[in-house]
Subunit: 333 residues, 2 copies
Amino acid sequence: MDKPTILTGDRPTGPLHIGHYLGSLRNRVALQDSHRQFVLLADAQALTDNMNDPARVTRNVDEVALDYLAVGLDPAKVTICLQSQLPALSELTLLYLNLVTVSRLERNPTVKDEIQARGFARDIPAGFLCYPVAQAADITAFRATVVPVGEDQLPMIEQTNEIVRRLNRQTGRNLLPEVTALLSDFGRLPGIDGKAKMSKSLGNAIALSASDEEIRRAVRMMYTDSNHLRVSDPGRVEGNVVFTYLDAFDPDKAELDELKAHYQRGGLGDTVLKQRLEAILLSVIAPIRERRAAHAATPDTVRDIIRDGTMRARVVTQQTLDWVKSGLGLYSF
Amino acid sequence: MDKPTILTGDRPTGPLHIGHYLGSLRNRVALQDSHRQFVLLADAQALTDNMNDPARVTRNVDEVALDYLAVGLDPAKVTICLQSQLPALSELTLLYLNLVTVSRLERNPTVKDEIQARGFARDIPAGFLCYPVAQAADITAFRATVVPVGEDQLPMIEQTNEIVRRLNRQTGRNLLPEVTALLSDFGRLPGIDGKAKMSKSLGNAIALSASDEEIRRAVRMMYTDSNHLRVSDPGRVEGNVVFTYLDAFDPDKAELDELKAHYQRGGLGDTVLKQRLEAILLSVIAPIRERRAAHAATPDTVRDIIRDGTMRARVVTQQTLDWVKSGLGLYSF
């Protein structure tokens, strides 16, 4: 039990794709022996901007859990749990909301960006404004000390540590541990059209359940260098989606470097590159897809895994809540 | 079980006073046979502006429970329960926060007034901004259809019904009942110095545990008409605190009307009025104080009453949470 504790998770708003795999899932699998890990199906957080269609969130809980099992997360090693079934998270959130001012929440860069991206303007749901505090509740409830994040989520870690320090200062002791961000090696994988955000709804994603044919089609459609018209032309590597994907997934970095040089001086066609990428992606996704299909055939087992994990998570999060309340001197029976 | 359900409660930030008795407690006792009643010790809400001193809230939970028993609330008829021990309230609050916009919360007149009164300016704790939603969660969790309030709390009822209607519209059925405000007969009782707000911290309150001597002193200090210098002078009844208290507590309205007329034409001294009021207040408070002292002698019993009520309230509030979640189609095991 001396392993550091990690919290990871996803908003179940759709099945996960290869971008999730690269940026996060692969790393979780790599850490599942060295770390104590909780993986949160963040359905309550997904409701902060999906309250018009809660069924969409419900539907995707099982899908995302399937993705977890498909990539090789092992429920004997990691605890997969469902946020909305952990009341201590709600209780901690409401407690922490008293420690954070409205103007502090409005200054959160992630919240600001997301508000703009979603077009909420002044009609932000209050739950959406408050979600960084809910995330702080999640992280601290599991007493996580390490949270793998992208650059864009660093403000969330900062908000969490502000709350932790405030509680520790007020109670005069080390009530909760501060948390460290673990930045992922890869930035965000772009969509096959080169757009920064890959998503199922934009039609530019490769799902973890993609068939061979879907993978082939996606690679065929993938953006390269629009000025690279003839094989003999010199081509650009930067911003070339195929190379971005090869950087992410090609195990032979030396050969990849040679291909880049060849492409840049001219004489290397997109087709060769795409065939290479296609083969790599097929080999990455095929075992994931097969494990996914196997688990999908036993939905009751998947639900049992979620339920068992949630029950274990309930104990841990309730302990933290009790600990924080008693540290603050709140009433208890 | 066909009785209408009432929710009442208090923020446990200090022992209750005679203003609470007049405006609310007396009425709760009167309704305890005709209504199913939950009385909420709102310690979680009290934390929204007492997070610097949670111990103050904790300390006053038992004090306020004692006040309840002292005025004659009967735990066999009403359910006295502790807000922070009812996780379903937090869960419903977070769910409802997704249905209410930040600008709607900022427009809440009660919140606006209170923000000003507390000098929060832009540094409003997020929990404070959100408390009308927490109140909506409280009211609906108990499936209350009647909530006794003062005029100033009508916006809270409005906010609750907005959420109820939104849920009912979205789910296409009568998921939750709308709630009706029960306006109290008396407005707010002023402090003995004539200030609109009576509070222990202002030193202008008469506690429900006040001794005879404290009551006498309070009545002696009470403001009358500062221009009524000699007994023979005509005096003012409006804004005269002694008459305000007599209006509230004197059972003999006919005689009181005669006294008012006499006072207005001159010839009636403050001393006569104050003696009358003193006798009345002594007779109102003496039995309350005695019951309070008797209960205070058995603190374990008081804690048992709170715990038993809270356990019963847990069942009711959890049922509502399950009902709302299942109505919205949220994930359940």
